[in-house]
């Protein structure tokens, strides 16, 4: 071919065309797939909330099996009876509370001291007992960690679900394994009347978590910072809900 590919003008034109072509391809992909990705994210939230409540399809002892995506929307409506938004002492019902982006709320509250965070709370019924599911979000070692904690009226844990964005596989990433999550069940966030939180403790010396009144669960080996992140996340986020639970009793 007779094109002189070394000319500056050619290089510039080539670069411009390349950017336009690549840009449109990517924009096309992003736009086309956006609805599917958004729906996936919505289903995931519903699945996680239900999982924390104990609505799941677990079979084996190590299973973490959610309600399949094609049924999750109906199951979610069936089990979650009310969704609340708590904003500075005021409680309102909102059917889309589960879509509230906790990250954004936190940034807003950080920037503006007078802003009261909107706190979503999901109330469901499980075996005749009211269960309150609280979303939490914090920092692990590499990136964000988050989860849902189901408690009863007295802030005793009924079930949890944790997830992470980029913790080390085999170490911090184990927070989403059953043997870690199941330990939380039965622990209380309160110590007597006062809010205490639940610590992921290294010196706990109670790997099977037989003592549920110590506000501690056994940590994961090799995942100190992720574990500390879980403790901090639970303490910070759940503390915000304490006034609401006090008003219940």
């Amino acid at each position: 071919m007779a094109i002189n590919t070394d000319k500056n003008s050619y290089t510039v034109i080539f670069a411009i065309i390349m950017v336009i072509v690549v840009g449109s391809i990517l924009a096309g992909f992003a736009n086309g797939l956006k609805p599917t990705i958004k729906a996936n994210e919505r289903y995931e939230k519903q699945q996680n909330i239900l999982y924390a409540m104990g609505v799941n399809e677990n079979e084996g002892a190590n299973d973490v099996a959610f309600i399949p995506t094609d049924r999750v929307e109906d199951t979610f409506k069936e089990y979650i009876t009310r969704q609340l938004v708590i904003q500075g002492g005021e409680v309102t019902e909102d059917d889309e509370a589960y879509l509230i982006d906790i990250d954004k709320e936190k940034t807003k509250a950080k920037k503006d001291d007078s802003y009261e965070r909107r706190l979503p709370l999901f109330i469901g019924e499980m075996e005749g007992k009211e269960v309150y599911v609280i979303p939490v979000r914090g920092k692990g070692l590499w990136d964000a960690i988050w989860g849902y904690v189901a408690v009863d009226k007295g802030m005793t844990v009924q079930g949890v679900y944790f997830d992470h964005k980029g913790e080390t596989p085999g170490l911090g990433a184990e927070i989403k394994q059953r043997y870690f999550m199941d330990d939380f069940t039965g622990e209380s966030f309160l110590d007597g009347e006062a809010f205490e939180g639940i610590d992921v403790a290294k010196g706990n010396n109670d790997p099977k978590n037989t003592d549920t009144s110590d506000n501690e669960v056994d940590a994961l080996a090799g995942a100190t910072i992720t574990g500390d992140g879980v403790s901090a996340m639970l303490r910070q986020d759940i503390r915000m809900y304490v006034p609401y639970f006090k008003s219940l009793n």
Partner: protein, 215 residues
Amino acid sequence: MGLLSKKDSKLIMDPLADNNPITIQVLGICSALAITAQLKPSIVMAISVMFVMGVGNIVISLMRNIIPSKIRIIVQLIVVATLVIIVDQVLKAFAYELSKELSVFIGLIITNCIIMGRFEAFALGNGVWRSFLDGIGNAAGYGVILIIVGFFRELLGSGTLFGFPVLGSPVDKTGLYAIGYENNGFMVLPPMALIVVGIIIWVQRSRNKDLIEEN
């Protein structure tokens, strides 16, 4: 092989053994360290890299006569980045669970030096079909090492394969654990990936003396 000529099949087979990108050329080591703590991410990473390299090599080979040499590295980078973003988006839409598990590692494919290396060294100077074979071959050579390392690290580090306990349960002390076996937590950490890769290099070179350098 009937389908491929001898020269073409060499393009696929060479990177699998005597010209392996990881053990011989020592490229792409960073991702071999990062994701091989378990078998499943290793395999998905291998498949994703294969897609990116196969398609990338085709694209670069098609454009090889019109790419201005002054900005060819940038053009290659854009091609890799575009493909990786497409893989990432498609996984998010159709294999959401998996994409969450791999999270940042898919993005890390961009930094895999094997890909840029093959674009620069092969696709820029060869036809489409041969470039495609070369891409697949090198990705397979990379993937094989990833899977071997992932297998040993997950087995010895966590006592599982694909997340299934194969050596018994360390908590209930069943299987091998009943006679005092313990998981080697060190296997899960990145340094052990290097050591496992080192052992593979050692085995390979002791079986094929031609690979040993003079000095």
